[in-house]
């Protein structure tokens, strides 16, 4: 037997030539002959004897004869039924085996990490992204999938990968980091402008059975792994015809000795048949069908075909809802590397899983898994699959698996839901579930990771010491790139890996003061207000026919008198904002919401001005996107491109959008949002982050929802914190949501907003009137077209100063 007598040879190109066998996969020394059909001697013998008497009438045989005749008839009938069953089973088996054996779920990837000189990139981020993409630190980075760091110099042996815009070969990438940026970059020793790492796998779009696998051909499987599989599971694989009588006898003896079912006598072929066509039912009938189909399979297909199918089919573990099938995917799942990078011990561990993927799970039961690994290693050595030296090296190594928290080990259900929603416009669900498509998305794992860490820490801090709040708080968040609308991170729950209610997309909650920037934008656009316009913050009572009297209050339950408009926004004053909004007109405010892309039903009630509108965090992000992007509204985008399993591009997507608000007015509004951070309700941000930044806190009635929406020069983030039961919380937006934003941006990197050079500084008096040159008042920014050219200049500053001096002198006298 090839596997037992020596180390198997790896097949070259023809999988059927595996193990140095004939094209049918058998060793050269065991030529295959056509199996003989089962003989039916009894039936044919009786026929011959009964029908061979010439014209002489048959002699009566009595009751015994009748019984015999009936038995013959039944035998013939049974043979016909058996033949029909065989034909049926044969056709069934061939149909599936020769057609597409498996449905392949779409594989979803994060964005690739682009590397170029000048790029913002910390050592921490690069190290983390390499780890998440299953790179291993090895001195000299000798093979794809390894890296080495010496100070600020990194050498990364990037794997080959088929991106959505084409395949790229493996490269040795070297780079230096300096001051948090990429300083220089070399690829294969030559200066290079741009290179990208392959993206992380972040999940799949699975059919109902949730099977996931990565298909490989036999010649891609290490020969040691094949050898380990055969010597462990089916030593006679290359000699039997689908069933092994020796194996069955061995199993029966073991079971009799144990007094229970402890060992199966199934060959690899039978196991494959069972996995492919039959249930887990333990019955003789099922076993019979399994044996027949195994024989039929061996009749039709080569050993190489069968082995290749087995390698791809076998169940090897579970990751949440995802069933891990095949050695290729199991290799990535347990060890974070492709099969070609496995060492002998890791191969043995995977083969050990065949007996019981859950029982021998190396992540959950490392001791059991190691014992099983060692047994497989021993079999490999004893059967010549590995040498004694290899065995000694492997057996001494501890069993280590990859980190369960790394990206390839988990999924991002909230983000995936959004991906599916976008793809639904162009693809059928069954294609996504079955065709093995590759989906390249916009998810930035570094930002996602930062967001998850910040949310987890912040919710724990909020609940600390408040027993009634323990595990009651929930959160949802969206982070997008402001110039492209790409969704970079999405949190649908405080448990990021949870496949449940996606609050970021589906939870519609009152947005509170996050509505105010829209009201202020409408006011600025109206031409009747500027940031210096005085607003009355005294108590307000609005009566409307058929509706209860509306009496809003400030968060601190106080009135602030007459305040400049910018103070009203910075301090998030409700009374002054409501008065201003009513002057602007509710219809105009509704129109502003519409222009910012809100498609929900918006009732023109006064409470709209203070955020009674209910939106999801994703909808809020879409609404704020034009405010961060100079009035340019872009659809939220999660997908960059889609390729077939073979890498052929099916779709690629690029940013698009439309100018929905005058950029000057948006720039004007940004001043107010910067003041919120500079000296208003979000001033806490600048205790940790460099400004300017723009943002707005929000808290709904009775503190049921805490919000923060803010942006730097690159990203917009919207954070919500609340309770699923809609109960009140002892927090406002600044206390609950803002810290998550702050921690996320502190870790992911913040890029302060650039100055708005197009704005003109104008002196404004206490009534909000623009004053001319030399006048005393407060400076506020204005768009150039809003500057009043007729404003009368006052005396020069020098005159003013001398006038003041004269006045002081007179007072002294």
């Amino acid at each position: 037997m090839a596997a037992a007598s020596g180390k198997p040879r790896k097949p070259k190109s023809d999988p059927d030539a595996a193990w140095g066998n004939n094209p049918d996969g058998r060793p050269a020394s065991t030529p295959r002959s056509t199996p003989k059909p089962p003989a039916k001697k009894t039936g044919t013998g009786r026929k011959r004897s009964s029908g061979g008497g010439g014209s002489k009438p048959p002699r009566s045989l009595g009751w015994f004869g009748s019984l015999l005749m009936w038995m013959i008839r039944l035998g013939i009938l049974g043979a016909v039924i058996l033949a029909a069953s065989l034909v049926y089973l044969d056709s069934q088996m061939r149909e599936q085996f020769e057609g597409r054996k498996w449905t392949l779920p779409a594989r979803v990837y994060a964005r690739p990490l682009q590397l170029y000189p000048g790029q913002l990139l910390s050592s921490e981020q690069l190290g983390a992204e390499l780890q998440w993409t299953d790179y291993h630190p090895v001195g000299g980075s000798p093979r794809p999938g390894t890296f080495e760091r010496v100070g600020d110099r990194w050498t990364i042996y990037r794997r080959d990968f088929v991106f959505w815009d084409g395949p790229e070969p493996a490269h040795r990438v070297e780079l230096t980091l300096n001051g948090g940026r990429v300083d220089r970059l070399w690829v294969d020793g030559a200066d290079q402008a741009l290179v990208r790492l392959e993206p992380q796998y972040i999940g799949g779009i699975f059919p109902a059975h949730n099977e996931d696998r990565e298909l490989v051909k036999l010649d891609q499987v290490p020969s040691e792994l094949l050898g380990a599989l055969v010597v462990t599971e089916d030593k006679d694989f290359f000699n039997h015809w689908g069933i092994s009588l020796r194996g069955i006898a061995r199993a029966m003896m073991a079971n009799v000795e144990a007094g229970s079912f402890v060992q199966g006598g199934s060959t690899l072929t039978q196991q494959l048949v069972k996995n492919f066509y039959l249930s887990e039912e333990r019955s003789l009938a099922r076993k019979g069908r399994e044996a027949m189909m195994a024989i039929l399979m061996e009749l039709h297909y080569s050993k190489g075909d069968i082995l290749q199918s087995y390698i791809n089919e076998v169940y090897l573990g579970q990751s949440g809802r995802r069933a891990i099938h095949g050695f290729a995917l199991a290799s990535r799942f347990y060890f974070g590397k492709p099969m070609s990078e496995l060492d002998v011990g890791e191969m043995a561990t995977l083969v050990g899983l065949v007996k019981g993927a859950s029982y021998y799970n190396p992540k959950k039961h490392p001791q059991r898994a190691q014992e099983r690994r060692d047994l497989v290693l021993t079999l490999m050595r004893d059967n010549g699959v590995i040498t004694e030296d290899q065995y000694q090296q492997a057996i001494k190594r501890p069993l280590t698996t990859s980190d369960s928290k790394r990206a390839g080990q988990r999924e991002y259900p909230a983000f995936l839901e959004l991906v599916k929603a976008q793809l639904k416009e162009d693809y059928k669900q069954e294609d996504l579930e079955n065709e093995g498509l590759n989906i390249f998305t916009t998810l930035d794992p570094w930002i996602q990771n930062s967001l998850e860490a910040a949310a987890t820490a912040q919710l724990a801090a909020l609940e600390k010491g408040r027993a009634n709040l323990t595990d009651q708080l929930e959160t949802a968040a969206v982070i997008t790139s402001i110039d492209g609308g790409e969704v970079r991170a999405l949190l649908g729950s405080r448990r990021p890996g949870y496949f449940g209610f996606n609050r970021a997309v589906n939870a519609r909650r009152p947005i509170g003061s996050l509505a105010k920037p829209v009201v202020y934008l409408a006011a600025l656009e109206s031409g009747r207000f500027n940031w210096g316009s005085p607003l009355d913050d005294s108590p307000l009572r609005v009566e409307m026919p058929g509706a209860p009297v509306w009496t809003p209050q400030n968060y601190d339950r106080k009135s602030h008198g007459v305040v400049p408009m910018v103070d009203a926004l910075a301090g998030s004053y409700n009374l002054s904002t409501a008065r201003m909004g009513l002057r602007v007109g509710l219809d105009n405010v509704v129109a502003e919401f519409r222009s910012l892309g809100v498609t929900e039903d918006i009732k023109p009630y006064p409470s709209l001005l203070l955020g009674s509108l209910e939106l999801s965090p994703l909808q809020v992000a879409a609404m704020y996107q034009p405010l961060a992007a100079q009035g340019f509204r872009m659809p939220m985008r999660t997908v960059e491109g889609v390729t077939t399993q073979q890498g052929q591009t099916l779709s690629s997507y690029a940013a698009s959008g439309e100018q929905v608000v005058d950029p000057m007015n948006v720039a004007w509004l940004r001043y107010g949002l910067e003041q919120v951070v500079e000296r208003g309700t979000a001033r806490k941000l600048l205790t940790r982050l460099p400004g300017p930044l723009a943002g707005k806190t929000g808290t709904s009635d009775d503190q049921r929802d805490a919000w923060f929406a803010g942006f730097d020069n690159r990203h917009l983030g919207v954070i919500w914190v609340g309770r699923d039961d809609n109960q009140t919380m002892p927090f406002a937006g600044a206390g609950a949501a803002l810290p998550i934003w702050m921690d996320t941006f502190a870790k992911a990197g913040v890029d302060p907003l650039p100055p708005q050079a197009q704005m003109v500084q104008v002196v404004v008096d206490a009534q909000g009137n623009q004053l001319g040159e030399g006048c005393i008042g407060t400076l506020y920014p204005f768009p150039p077209e809003r500057v009043d050219g007729n404003a009368q200049p006052c005396r020069t500053t020098q005159d003013t100063e001398s006038g003041l001096l004269e006045w002081l002198m007179r007072q002294v006298e």
Binding site: Y116, G118, D165, L194, S481, E486, A654, G657
Partner: protein, 203 residues
């Protein structure tokens, strides 16, 4: 002199009555100076190389006996493909340059989808690079996605700090506007382009 003047006046009156007065005698307020109308929407960009100047030159009637003082016809620049010979022209950040080269290769193969993909990668590296947005707008226009192109070019114009580039962005945008049937806006944008870069009017 007086007699001559009277005679001349009578002759002129007679000629006027008979309708034979030369045009030069008419008062200046009578002169019918009209702005030549814009030509009909131009053919696809790939074949666009004609000049508006030639067309407007023919608007002056050739049969006038004595030249009248016509108001100068408004000559507006027009988008033509010579303004963007290749997607990788110009000086850019090396990473952007590398992506623009790939985009240009895809463009030469008429693979517009791939071209857009490369350009979008460049945009993600420098999201406010007017040069990149301009090229994205151009590709969208090539694929007759004029509305998207026009919007993207508005954004490109916002970030452009170079008059020459801004003028080209405006011309391309005007071309999109014209395809969208927004002719008066297109004219207005062309005027702005001409003001920013008068050299566009030459040739």
């Amino acid at each position: 002199m007086n007699r001559l003047t009277v005679t001349g006046a009578m002759l002129a009156l007679a000629l006027l009555v008979t309708g034979c007065a030369p045009a030069a005698v008419r008062t200046s307020s009578d002169s019918m100076v009209t702005r030549p109308s814009l030509p009909s929407p131009k053919p696809p960009l790939a074949n666009d190389s004609y000049s508006r100047v030639d067309n407007t030159a023919q608007a002056v009637p050739a049969t006038v006996v004595e030249p009248v003082q016509l108001e100068a016809p408004e000559v507006l620049p027009e988008w033509n493909d010579a303004l963007l010979v290749s997607l990788d022209q110009g000086n850019h950040h090396p990473a952007i340059q590398s992506l623009l080269q790939k985009a240009e290769q895809s463009r030469q193969q008429q693979n517009w989808s791939a071209t857009l993909t490369w350009l979008d990668q460049a945009r993600q590296i420098q999201p406010r690079n007017a040069d990149v947005l301009y090229r994205q707008g151009w590709v969208l226009a090539q694929t007759e996605r004029y509305s998207e192109a026009e919007q993207l070019l508005q954004r490109a114009r916002m970030f452009s700090t170079d008059n020459s580039l801004t003028a080209r962005i405006l011309l391309l945008r005007s071309d999109c506007l014209q395809h969208l049937g927004r002719d008066s806006e297109a004219d207005s944008v062309r005027r702005e382009a001409a003001r920013l870069d008068p050299s566009l009017l030459i040739g």
